[in-house]
């Protein structure tokens, strides 16, 4: 909440989580699509992220198949963005002067989105708490102006602030009457069930069909000149692919093929967005973006 207030005070539109499965806050349309084009854009939102292969049946204190990111996207990137970021840490109670905060090189690339950027992972006393990236390209298009993305790992940050060693020990709420809810109370059973579902139960023939259907739906929607709803299908494809991956039914060679299919869709959505929403000739820009 305090992160939201902080970034709202920096002029960001505070949005609610996107209601579709995403692998990272970056994938939500408020980041991916809005990163394109010349318009100013500032947003901040919490995003629940699903990474089926990271599930550990609730047994690992650091890994989850569902977790929260706090995502900030500001375009163009402000000159004092690092200072603003450090101020945001202070706003949530981290005394940056009393810890070792570092910006450690970490270049970001998303093969499924055809996107890349340069930046850092931010460490506090050796713990990675944030991804900090200046987007250079999204969906094959050069970003101009350049947006900066800040993605906080909320569980990690909270563990740091509360000084607990297991994500499940995080105190989520404590009533005046002393009634306490931990992260474990809220999500432990969820992790167990979803880990089992993702790794063992999910129906793979259904998922293969869903992938193909969604792919076709995406193309149809794009033909109608509607990149925003089409992008929903891209996200569905991504998630379906991740589930199939977790079920262990995608071989290494097929893997590349699926990633390429998703990228093709993502690029097509970005192209359509450039054409229909931004109103720029897509081709000219795409050339500048090849790399």
């Amino acid at each position: 909440m305090r992160l939201q207030e902080f970034w709202a005070s920096q002029g960001c539109v505070v949005m609610q989580p996107y209601d579709n499965e995403v692998g990272a806050g970056t994938n939500a349309p408020a980041t991916t699509l809005r990163a394109l084009g010349p318009d100013t854009w500032r947003t901040a939102y919490v995003q629940g992220c699903r990474r089926p292969t990271d599930g550990r049946y609730g047994e690992n204190p650091n890994r989850l198949q569902f977790y929260y990111q706090f995502q900030v996207l500001i375009k163009p990137s402000p000159d004092d963005i690092q200072d603003a970021y450090l101020a945001s840490l202070r706003a949530i109670g981290i005394d940056t002067d009393a810890h070792d905060v570092r910006f450690v090189e970490d270049d970001w690339e998303s093969p499924t989105l055809g996107a890349w950027g340069l930046g850092w992972e931010v460490w506090i006393d050796g713990m990675e708490v944030t991804q900090f990236t200046y987007f250079q390209q999204v969906g094959g298009f050069e970003c101009s102006p350049v947006p900066v993305e800040i993605a906080y790992g909320l569980e990690r940050l909270t563990m740091f602030v509360q000084g607990v060693d297991s994500v499940y020990d995080i105190i989520w709420a404590k009533g005046p009457d002393g009634v306490t809810f931990t992260y474990g109370d809220v999500y432990l059973e969820n992790e167990r069930q979803y880990s089992k579902y993702n790794f063992e139960v999910a129906d793979t023939s259904f998922l293969f069909k869903e992938f193909a259907d969604r792919e076709a739906e995406c193309m149809k929607t794009l033909e109608a000149g509607l990149p925003l709803p089409a992008y929903d299908s891209v996200l569905k494809c991504c998630h379906t692919f991740n589930l199939l991956d977790a079920r262990g039914v995608i071989s290494a060679t097929e893997r590349m093929g699926y990633i390429l299919r998703v990228r093709t869709l993502a690029k097509a959505c970005c192209e359509s967005y450039m054409e229909h929403v931004v109103g720029l000739p897509a081709d000219a820009d795409a050339k500048g973006g090849e790399r």
Binding site: N60, P61, D100, V101, I124, G126, Y134, T253
Partner: protein, 695 residues
């Protein structure tokens, strides 16, 4: 005489990646030197400073103005410079253009009684301060980065966003702007220790200002500071404690802080049950911590290097300890999970890992390596027990790539497989070979110690090299993504350690396996390309180890492919030549002479009946040498072959002394030609002596 001042140029940035910063710091002086040189600004010594947030250069004794130029050049004579009508000729206009003056400005002067045209070039002196904005802007733009980026709405690129510029000539600001950053005298401080930064009054005060801001301004100084503190820690810990500071991680750590403070931390001793390679990988690669050993054994202590305020060391150590505990918890969890199944069970999952797009998965590679290893065992004539171990090790060599521990900590590949193999009761030789088959991992690394490891390593590396050559993915220039050069050098080193197999046959076998696998390519071309790749690597290795280049070339001229033979011969040739320098010089001279004179078409079936005494002596020496050389080569005894050749020195010298080859009698001449051919042929299988430079 103009006066001089100190120039300061500091580029303030967001955190530059550690290795890129190191490279840029090394290049900056030359870039500044060139930029000042191009603008003809005279200057003195230069010093470079860098931290993750700044790249700076101080130039001493920068002249306040560029020197005025007044140079005179002598051109063609007047007779050539002007035509009959007195108009300038092409010669004159060309000369004028070359010197950068107008043709009308040429002057005529007499020198030694002849009139010549002269060109005078004048360049006025300029104020350095007016030139510097462009010079400094050029410097920023000239710094090369492996990766660069744009930010906000600017078109300029740099490693990371540039946030401030300090450009001072003495006390004066040199005005320039780069991607929104406007030059001034304000430098930012350390994020925690001196966030207010400081105004630099004059360029000479720069370093002192940084020190006041508690910033350690050079890489060398930060490194020395870390090393010194670490040595002090070792001394405090007591006898036989040592902190390992690998170069790569140290470089990174040095460039991850503006004011480094090493701190001592610990982790729970129970984690020491995990193989130490994983712990070290987690600490070095992931967290950039330095492990501490006691009498060579890993301890539960480690060194962190903080960029924070040392007054809060307690906080910082505590936080880092928690991170390492979480990491090691993961490592321990992975390790224990992996141990639940035998290593064999992971082999089938290797089809989930791509070796190379066109060459298939690691599973396929494993099958190929098994087949090739079997062939190598036959060639090496190892006994059945060893062959069995090789087959087992080849099958399990890559299995750990799909274990949790290796997926998470990639640098422990092979090593983990070895632990897992041991744990599920595999033969000790097999476990060792799994760990060793990646060796040598880098230049100067050991080769596998065991015979099993050597054979598996050769099979693995030859498979990689042949496969990538088969699909045309040869290393080019600096691009060698599969480290084929290192793999070839590894194979050569292993062969030299005494593995008796034919590389030529191994390459052929590997290529045949690929063809059976359905990869289509021209086998003969690939064979030749791989062989010549190995020959080139052998050459490079020999040169690096001090063999004389002409000896290597002489040996290679005899068309040998096996690295072991090339190396043995080159060394024997060098040694023999060193023993009898005069004899070898004479012999190579005689060889070269014979080779030049002879007519290769004439054949070598001479008519002995027509010989005079010196011819007959040479002929019999040749026959004797031929027999000896053939016997010696068959026995791989190259020194004896060389000795046999050196016996030809006296007869060939006599022959040249006594006999006129270009006899008028054409028949006699032809017979002598044949004799020379016979002489040259004896050398053919040994070395091309014509390539030996006489010393």
């Amino acid at each position: 005489m103009s006066t001089s001042q100190t120039l300061l140029f500091e580029i303030g940035t967001e955190e530059i990646p550690a290795f890129d910063l190191k490279a840029a710091t090394e290049k900056l002086p030359q870039i500044m030197e060139d930029a000042l040189g191009d603008a003809r600004i005279g200057h003195g010594a230069m010093e470079v400073y860098s931290t993750p947030r700044r790249l700076a250069v101080l130039v001493h004794e920068v002249e306040e103005a560029t020197p005025e130029v007044n140079e005179t050049f002598k051109g063609p004579s007047v007779a050539i410079a002007f035509d009959e009508a007195g108009a300038p000729t092409k010669a004159a206009s060309g000369f004028a253009r070359g010197k950068g003056v107008d043709v009308d400005a040429l002057e005529v002067r007499e020198e030694d009684g002849v009139e010549y045209v002269f060109a005078t070039r004048r360049i006025a002196s300029k104020q350095t301060s007016t030139l510097l904005p462009r010079v400094l802007l050029g410097v920023i733009q000239s710094i090369p980065w492996p990766k660069s980026m744009r930010w906000a709405s600017y078109r300029e690129t740099f490693s990371r966003p540039v946030r401030w510029l300090v450009a001072l000539l003495g006390e004066d600001i040199i005005p320039l702007t780069f991607a929104g950053a406007v030059s001034g005298r304000h430098t930012e401080g350390h994020r925690v220790l001196s966030p207010a930064g400081a105004d630099i009054a004059c360029a000479d005060g720069y370093v002192e200002a940084l020190r006041t801001l508690k910033i350690v301004p050079t890489q060398e100084e930060r490194r020395a500071l870390i090393e010194e503190a670490v040595r002090a820690m070792e001394a405090d810990l007591g006898e036989s404690f040592s902190v390992v500071l690998p170069e790569k991680t140290l470089t990174e750590v040095v460039n991850l802080s503006e004011a480094p403070t090493p701190m001592l931390a610990t982790f729970d001793e129970s984690f020491l049950a995990v193989p130490e390679e994983i712990i070290v990988d987690a600490m070095l690669m992931h967290q950039r911590y330095f492990p501490i050993y006691h009498e060579g054994v890993l301890t539960n202590r480690f060194v962190i290097v903080s960029n924070g305020d040392a007054a809060f060391a307690h906080n910082i150590i505590d936080g880092n300890q928690r991170v390492v505990a979480a990491r090691l918890y993961d490592a321990k969890f992975f390790y224990e999970e992996d141990l639940k199944r035998p290593l064999e069970a992971y082999v089938e999952h290797l089809d989930e890992v791509v070796f190379q797009e066109k060459l298939g998965t690691m599973r396929q590679k494993t099958d190929r390596v098994c087949q090739l290893a079997e062939k190598l065992c036959l060639d090496a004539e190892v006994d059945a027990a060893v062959a069995g171990q090789v087959a087992r090790a080849a099958r399990l060599a890559k299995a750990d790539l799909v274990t949790n521990a290796v997926i998470e900590f990639t640098s422990v590949q092979g090593i983990m497989g070895s632990y897992y193999a041991k744990a599920c009761g595999e033969d000790a030789e097999v476990s060792l070979a799994i760990a060793e088959h990646y060796k040598p991992r880098f230049a100067g690394d050991d080769i596998p110690a065991g015979e099993v490891g050597k054979l598996v390593a050769i099979a693995d590396k030859v498979d990689t090299i042949c496969g990538l050559f088969a699909i045309g993915q040869l290393p080019t220039g600096s691009s060698d993504p599969f480290a084929l050069r290192r793999a070839a050098l590894g194979v050569i080193s292993i062969l030299l350690s005494g593995v008796d197999i034919s590389l030529e046959a191994a390459i052929a076998a590997s290529l045949a396996i690929y063809q059976e696998d359905g990869i289509s390519f021209n086998a003969a071309e690939a064979q030749e390309a791989v062989e010549s790749f190995f020959v080139t690597r052998t050459k490079v290795m020999l040169k690096d180890s001090g063999s004389s280049p002409d000896a290597i070339d002489a040996v290679l001229a005899a068309q040998v492919i096996e690295p072991v033979i090339i190396v043995a011969r080159t060394q024997a040739l060098d040694a023999a030549r060193k023993g009898e320098p005069a004899a070898f010089a004479d012999l190579s001279t005689a060889y070269a002479r014979a080779n030049n004179l002879r007519d290769a078409q004439a054949g070598s079936l001479y008519d002995a009946a027509a010989f005079n005494a010196s011819e007959a002596a040479l002929a019999s020496a040749i026959e004797k040498a031929r027999t000896e050389v053939n016997e010696a080569l068959a026995a791989n005894d190259y020194p004896t072959a060389l000795a046999a050749l050196s016996c030809l020195r006296a007869p060939i010298d006599d022959f040249f002394e006594e006999t006129m080859i270009m006899d008028e009698d054409l028949q006699v001449r032809a017979n002598r030609m044949k004799l020379l051919n016979a002489f040259v042929e004896v050398f053919a299988n040994v070395a091309d002596f014509g390539l030996l430079a006489s010393k």
